[in-house]
Structure formats: structure tokens, C-alpha cells
Amino acid sequence: MVNSLDLAEKEMKQYIVVKIGSEQYGIDISYVDNIVRLQKITRVPKAQSYFKGVINLRGEIVPVMSIRLKMDLEADVFTNSSRIIILKLEEKGALGIIVDEVKEVVTLSDDEIERNTGKKDTFINGIGKNGDELISLFEINAIVEENI
């Protein structure tokens, strides 16, 4: 698995900026396979509570996770701007996460990112500064991990 920390220290990196609640989050673009509109999600009984179910993505079954529930935020409210971001991970395959809105793609260099060191049990591996705006950068591997 690519260590996103190592890579970021050397080069500029692109992030997709999404909105969840009032906060802005950045997702390393190298993990993103696709962004799709919200579609019918089929509930899977007995699955982990933060899995909303599965969707049909061009003939493949892709599980969809509520990142809000995973982070212990209040449940999703689906609007017209809600999107599912399809992440592609080498080992486990595709996974969709629901976000409230997709805003833009930003390029951040390492000095624009403040790493949170020492903190554990978090889905965020750093704070990016894009002008005046602050973007919490997701640690994808932590999101994918089974338990918090």
C-alpha cells in the first residue's frame, strides 16, 4: 500500500475537496476512481451500521459507506448535490462513500499541509490550507479499516 505521507513529502498532490456537514474534506485524487450521482442503494441486512448498502456501478456491485456514520456524525441528508465518490483500493476493490457536495480539485504542496502528528484514532492525516480555507485531509486507509 502506498504510504500517502511519504509521497506527500516529496511532491505536490491533488485533492478532491468535498463537503460533509459544514466542514471541507480533501480526498487524495489517486484513490478516486469515479464520482457518481446518488442512485438507489440496496440495503444489506446484518452489515456494519455505516454501510448503507450496495449499488450497481456499470454491472459491478460496489458497497457504499456513510462516512458520516463512520465518523459518528449525524446521519446523511440526501440532496440534489449529494454524490457517491468511488474509491479504488488495490487490495479490497472499489468502495463508495457518500458526501454532501463535491466542490473542486486543489493542488497542495507539502508546506501547505499541516500534519497532525502523534494523534491516533483519526480519519484525518493533516490539514491543508487553500487560501483562507481549511481542508481536512482524509487518511483513506483509516476510512477503509474495519474498526475505528
Binding site: 438507489k40 440496496t42 440495503r43 444489506v44 441486512p45 446484518k46 452489515a47 456494519q48 454501510f51 448498502g53 450496495v54 449499488i55 450497481n56 454491472g59 459491478e60 456491485i61 460496489v62 458497497p63 459507506m65 487490495e91 479490497k92 476493490g93 472499489a94 468502495l95 477503509v144
Partner: protein
């Protein structure tokens, strides 16, 4: 029994295991404490050993056994992985690969014992356990070889009758100052390809000089017209010992006798004999030259022909077949799946927008398309179906060998070898079944005296019965031996800390027996190369589950144990009944459904506080799918209930659903690795309108 027809499978599987081993050892080198990898490495070595044993490759089995020992020590934390060990392990892999290459070339593992590596392995374990390395056990084979190599018996090469031409050649060689050596080479009695061996000997010695005399003639040697030894004279400037070593290095050569030949010796001996008309010397050399050249292509033709002999014979029985790469079939299968999904969406368009498509021929064409895709799918499935015969046929031999090794009398009874399964399933079912049979032979059956004392027939029986049941194939493997001592398992589990004493109190007999499927849980008191290291049942279970099947065990102390392996007939496409529960759609495999019933609520009765219905003399427990699947409750219960009666083996159950939507061919897709494997859902499928429906695994509901 003839195992040659399994050579191909053996070679493929061995390659695979070698690859796994080398990958895992690489990982271990970096992460010496990676438990998963250690387990995996151990399993691969274990399977490798088992396979080599089954095929009768003793040397290979020996080496892998000792290699496995090392992994065992690592697994139980007695040895730390270090670089010396990694080096040694790779040496082992190379040696195994060398065996495999021999097998590929000549259907035989060759004669290399690899005693050095085996000794190193054992030393490694010994040092790790704090013992001094033992002196290497005298390599019996080699001493034997050395003994017999001494020219004690008659110098056969001196007895040869020479033609004048050959004598001239010898004389010429002597005059030019090169030595002429006589050789007599004996080939191993069991050698199948004597000519090939002889050729290899000639090839080896020709690096040192020129062969001037062949006895029997080179043509006869090529045609295998000789017993087990042949002689030749070679003119060479090299040291005789070098040539001898080169000749002796060829496998399956029992001994090489040689010595310096002087022309006078021969002439002296032959003086008494009548002289023959001497052909011109030039011709002799020419003959020698051409034969040397000719042997090369001859040899090449010879070998594959001999290797193929048996498989070819086996193939003719099955009639006209072609070998197709399974990947090509998979690709074909995927395309058929896509076609069926596309067809399903056409069907649903036709159904929902019938107002716009009043044209009768449109519906006719859709029906036609439906028939074609169904037939196409069936054909593709059939192409992928092979009888389990190819896997189970190696078992009688295995049981026979085990009977000898364990010194127990036993007999294997098999039925249903012609039961067909998807090729991918058949390929992977061999290992688990082998484990189960070994278990039966080793742990299941009592020894002969005990059996007699218990009033059982002296010869233990082991059985393997395969048959099709609905959409499943059932393979039952068992024995009439001692059965599983549930109490002993309970005690052992508590001893090992697998469960606490309180937990043990509350566990049913079945749950206790199922503990045997946990990794590293072995009941064997001593380790043998047959079973008892605690790999086996857990591997069996995980292998079978990976194929979408399950395994159950039924045992009765003193009477025997039966493992029931249930496997899906097909992996990709099934006929399913679509049902609705509130607004959710589920698919249930048609194969597990017996009947559909419509019942009134007041027909539900209660037995032991469970809902049951009484239909045609059967009392069938009811399962409310909405509860099992956590669907929202209905406000008022309906008067009429739709019940699907399903079966698993001899058991039946009634599933209550809201609506039946009809039968459909569905393509099974996996749910992926993220969502916790809940056994009730075995996969998902995409409906005609693009919606996802989940597939219920009826077996998990019981």
C-alpha cells in the same frame, strides 16, 4: 495404480505451491513475525508434501517434510526467522523445483537425495532446540554407489570382440599419444528410458574425447536392444576419473567400471580368434560420427513419446476432446453473463412499456432471445463441467499407501465418481477431500486389534459418496471408526484456552465438534506426515467456503464420523425465484425450493414456542424473513401468507415473504470484501432495470 494421468495436475499444483512458498518466504524475510504468512507457508509446504507422497515421489516428500518441520517450529515460536534460514529455505525450493523439472521431463523425480539440504534442515531445528547438530546419517545410497563402483567384478569392457577397424582406431589413438579407456556402464534395473540414459552418458563423456567403440553397436543402444549394461572405448587426453565421474553423474546409472585399455591386451586376447575382413578405417569414424549426430534428434523424439504414453492412452477413453485454457472459458462465461443481464433489461422494458410495444413480434423475439441465452448459458456451463473422477481417482492409491504406513487394514469405497462439477470447483476440491480422507485413515479408524475387540470387522472402511442434490453437489467422506470423542475435544479446547470452562458448559455437542475446524486445533497425540499438525480441518473449511460451499460433521462415538461437503453446482449463473419483502427484492435459488404454499395466519401452530405449519403430514418450522433480514415491521399482519418451503439436506423450513415476483435467471456477483461476511446473503445480482437484488443463502437460515 497408474498415477501418470495426474502428472499434469501435480505439475500445475506443485508450481503453484512453489510460487506461494517463495512469495511467502520473501515476505517472511521482511516481516519475520507475520503469523498469517507463516501459516500460509506451512499449508503450502504441507500440501506439497501430501501431493508428492500421493504421486509416490519419495525424495521430494522427504525434503518437503523436513522443510515443513522447520515451519512448524517457526509457527510454534520455537525458532526465529533469520537470514540463514531464509537462504536454506530457498535452497530447498530450488531442490524441489529440480525434482519437478525431472518429473516434467521424465515422469520421475530423479535420484538426487539432497541429503545435504535435509541435514541442514534438521541441524537447524536441532540447534534451535538447543541440541548439538547430529552427525549426518551416513548417506546410504552414496556409499552403496561407491562400493559398487569399484571394479571388483569382471572387467566387461575387456571381453569385447573388436573388428579390425576398431582395433585400428585404437592403435591409431595410442600412436598419437592419447589414452584409450574402456568403460562398462550399468543402468538401473527400473529405468524406463535406457537409451536416453545411454545417450546422456555418451554425451557426458564425449566432452572429454572421442568414443571409438560401442558395444552393443550404437544403433542397438539407440533402439534399446541391450539389457542393463553397455560398454564403450573412448580416446581421451583427460584423466580417467573425470570421465568416470561425468558418466556416473547421469541419473539412474548404477555403476561405471573403467580402466585403461592397451592395444596389446586386446590383440593378445584376440589373437586366437579369426580375423575379419577389415573395412576401411575412414568408414568407421564416419559411422561413429553419424551415429553421434543421429542420436540427438532421435533422443528428442524418444523422450516426450515415452512420457506421453500413458496420458495419451487415458485420453483416448474420453473421446475427442480439446484442451481449453480455463481463462478463455471464464471470459466466455462473463460475456454470457453480460448478455443475460442485457436480455433481462429488454424483458423488463418489454413488460413495463407494453403500451408502446404492441407489436406481437417484439415479444416473440424477446422470448426467442430468452431461449437462446438460456441455452447458451447451459452449454457454456456444461463445457465447464467435469466429473470429479479426475480428483478422486488418486485416492484409492493414497488409502492403500496409508494403510501400509499406518499398519491398519482399511478399504476405500467410492460412489458417484461421475458426478459433475464446475471445473474450477473440481480443481480446488482435491486438497480438502484428501485432508478429510487422511483424517479418517489416521484418526478415524482404530487399529486392527481395537476393532476386533469392539466386534467390528477387522478391515476399516472409509467411504466417499458424491451425488447431486438440487443445485448442490454433496460429497460425504467418512469412516466406521472411533468417531470424535466430544469430551476429549472439550477438555482439549479448555486446556488450550480456546474456550473457557463456562463456555464449554453451555456448548452443544455440535458446537464442540465444530471447534475442530479452528486453525491449529489438532487432536493428534503425535505428529506424523499424514495428519495431526492442526492444518487440515481449518484449511478444509476455508477452502470449501471459498468455493461457496460448506462442510458439516456428524459423529457418533464408537461408530464413526461423516463429513458432509456441500458445493454449489455452478458458480456464476443460477435460476432463482425473486421475492419481495416490503420494498426489498431478494433472490432464492430455485434448487433449494421444494414447494410454494399459501397459508392462512390461523394455520400457524406453535411447537416449543416456535412457529410451525403442518403441511401434508410434515411439520415445518417457519422463518419470518422480515425479522431475519431486519426489515421494517408491517403495520397490520395480512390474513394470507406466502410461504416458500425450502430444504437443506433432510431438513425443511418455510420462509414467509410478502410477494412472489417470478422466476429469473440471475448472474451472481460478489458483495466485495468490505461488508462483513454475513452468511445469509451469498451475493448480489443486477436486475433488468439496473437495480441490485441480494441473493439469500437458504443454507445459512437453518
Amino acid at each position: 495404480m497408474d498415477v501418470s494421468q495426474y502428472l499434469e495436475i501435480f505439475i500445475d499444483e506443485t508450481n503453484e505451491h512453489l510460487q506461494t512458498l517463495s512469495d511467502c518466504i520473501m515476505i517472511l524475510e521482511k516481516e519475520p513475525d507475520n503469523k498469517d504468512t507463516i501459516n500460509e507457508v506451512f499449508r503450502a509446504a504441507h500440501s506439497l508434501k501430501g501431493m508428492a507422497g500421493t504421486m509416490g515421489f519419495k525424495r521430494m516428500q522427504h525434503l518437503t517434510h523436513d522443510m515443513e518441520n522447520v515451519f512448524q517450529e517457526v509457527r510454534s515460536d520455537k525458532i526465529q526467522v533469520n537470514s540463514a534460514m531464509i537462504d536454506l529455505l530457498f535452497k530447498c525450493l530450488d531442490a524441489i523445483e529440480a525434482y519437478l523439472n525431472n518429473v516434467k521431463e521424465s515422469s520421475d523425480e530423479g535420484t538426487e537425495d539432497n541429503e545435504i539440504i535435509i541435514k541442514e534442515l534438521n541441524d537447524f531445528i536441532a540447534t534451535a532446540n538447543g541440541e548439538k547438530p547430529e552427525a549426518a546419517p551416513a548417506p546410504a545410497k552414496e556409499t552403496e554407489k561407491a562400493d559398487s563402483a569399484e571394479p571388483t567384478d569382471g572387467v566387461g569392457y575387456l571381453q569385447l570382440e573388436l573388428t579390425d577397424a576398431e582395433r585400428n582406431a585404437i592403435r591409431a589413438a595410442e600412436e598419437s599419444g592419447t589414452n584409450v579407456y574402456g568403460f562398462m556402464v550399468s543402468i538401473h534395473k527400473d529405468c524406463l528410458l535406457k537409451a536416453a540414459r545411454a545417450f546422456l552418458v555418451f554425451k557426458a563423456v564425449e566432452e572429454f574425447g572421442q568414443i571409438i567403440v560401442y558395444r552393443p553397436s550404437s544403433q542397438d543402444i539407440e533402439d534399446e536392444k541391450f539389457e542393463f549394461d553397455f560398454s564403450f572405448y573412448i580416446s581421451s587426453d583427460e584423466d580417467i576419473e573425470k570421465i568416470k565421474a561425468a558418466a556416473a553423474a547421469v541419473s539412474e546409472i548404477d555403476k561405471v567400471v573403467c580402466g585403461l585399455v592397451k592395444e596389446e591386451q586386446i590383440t593378445a586376447k584376440e589373437k586366437k580368434e579369426e580375423k575379419e575382413v577389415a573395412p576401411p578405417p575412414a568408414q568407421t569414424t564416419a559411422v561413429a560420427m553419424t551415429t553421434a549426430v543421429e542420436t540427438v534428434p532421435e533422443q528428442k523424439e524418444n523422450k516426450p513419446a515415452a512420457v506421453n504414453k500413458k496420458p495419451v492412452a487415458a485420453k483416448t477413453v474420453t473421446g475427442r476432446t480439446i484442451r481449453v485454457d480455463i481463462e478463455k472459458l471464464d471470459a466466455l462465461m462473463n460475456q454470457v453473463s453480460e448478455l443475460i443481464i442485457a436480455k433481462n433489461s429488454l424483458v423488463s422494458i418489454g413488460a413495463s412499456e407494453s403500451g408502446n410495444f404492441q407489436n406481437q413480434s417484439f415479444h416473440d423475439q424477446i422470448e426467442y432471445l430468452e431461449r437462446i441465452t438460456t441455452n447458451l448459458h447451459e452449454s457454456v456451463m456444461k463445457v465447464r463441467m467435469v466429473p470429479i473422477e479426475s480428483v478422486v481417482n488418486k485416492f484409492p492409491r493414497m488409502i492403500r499407501d496409508l494403510a501400509r504406513k499406518l499398519n491398519k487394514k482399511m478399504e476405500l469405497y467410492m460412489t458417484g465418481e461421475d458426478t459433475e462439477l464446475d471445473r474450477t470447483v473440481v480443481d480446488q476440491i482435491g486438497d480438502p477431500l484428501q485432508h478429510l480422507l487422511r483424517n479418517s485413515a489416521d484418526h478415524g479408524l482404530e487399529d486392527n486389534e481395537t476393532r476386533l475387540k469392539r466386534g467390528k470387522p477387522e478391515v476399516g472402511s472409509i467411504f466417499l459418496n458424491a451425488y447431486q442434490e438440487g443445485n448442490n453437489v454433496i460429497i460425504k467422506v467418512g469412516d466406521d471408526g472411533n468417531g470424535i470423542d466430544v469430551e476429549a475435544v472439550r477438555t482439549k479446547a479448555i486446556e488450550r484456552g480456546t474456550i473457557t470452562a463456562e463456555q464449554a458448559e453451555n456448548m452443544s455437542k455440535k458446537e464442540i465438534v465444530n471447534l475442530l475446524f479452528l486453525p491449529s486445533f489438532s487432536m493428534a497425540k503425535k505428529i506424523s506426515d499424514i495428519s495431526g499438525r492442526g492444518v487440515g480441518l481449518d484449511v478444509v473449511k476455508s477452502n470449501i467456503e471459498a468455493l461457496g460451499g460448506d462442510v458439516e460433521v456428524a459423529t457418533s462415538l464408537g461408530e464413526g464420523t461423516t463429513f458432509t461437503v456441500r458445493l454449489p453446482l455452478t458458480l456464476a449463473i443460477i435460476q432463482a425465484l425473486m421475492v419481495e419483502i416490503r420494498d426489498e427484492k431478494y433472490a432464492i435459488a430455485i434448487g433449494s425450493i421444494t414447494t410454494l404454499e399459501s397459508i392462512k395466519v390461523n394455520e400457524i401452530k406453535y411447537v416449543e414456542a416456535r412457529e410451525v405449519i403442518h403441511i401434508r403430514g410434515n411439520v415445518i418450522p417457519l422463518i419470518r424473513l422480515d425479522k431475519v433480514l431486519d426489515v421494517e415491521k408491517q403495520k397490520e399482519e395480512e390474513e394470507d401468507l406466502t410461504v416458500i418451503i425450502v430444504k437443506k439436506g433432510d431438513e425443511q423450513a418455510g420462509l414467509i415473504v410478502d410477494n412472489l415476483m417470478g422466476q429469473q435467471e440471475i448472474v451472481i456477483k460478489p458483495l466485495g470484501k468490505y461488508i462483513n461476511n454475513n452468511k445469509i446473503i451469498s451475493g448480489a445480482t443486477i436486475l433488468g432495470d439496473g437495480e441490485v437484488a441480494l441473493i439469500l443463502d437458504v443454507n445459512a437460515l437453518f
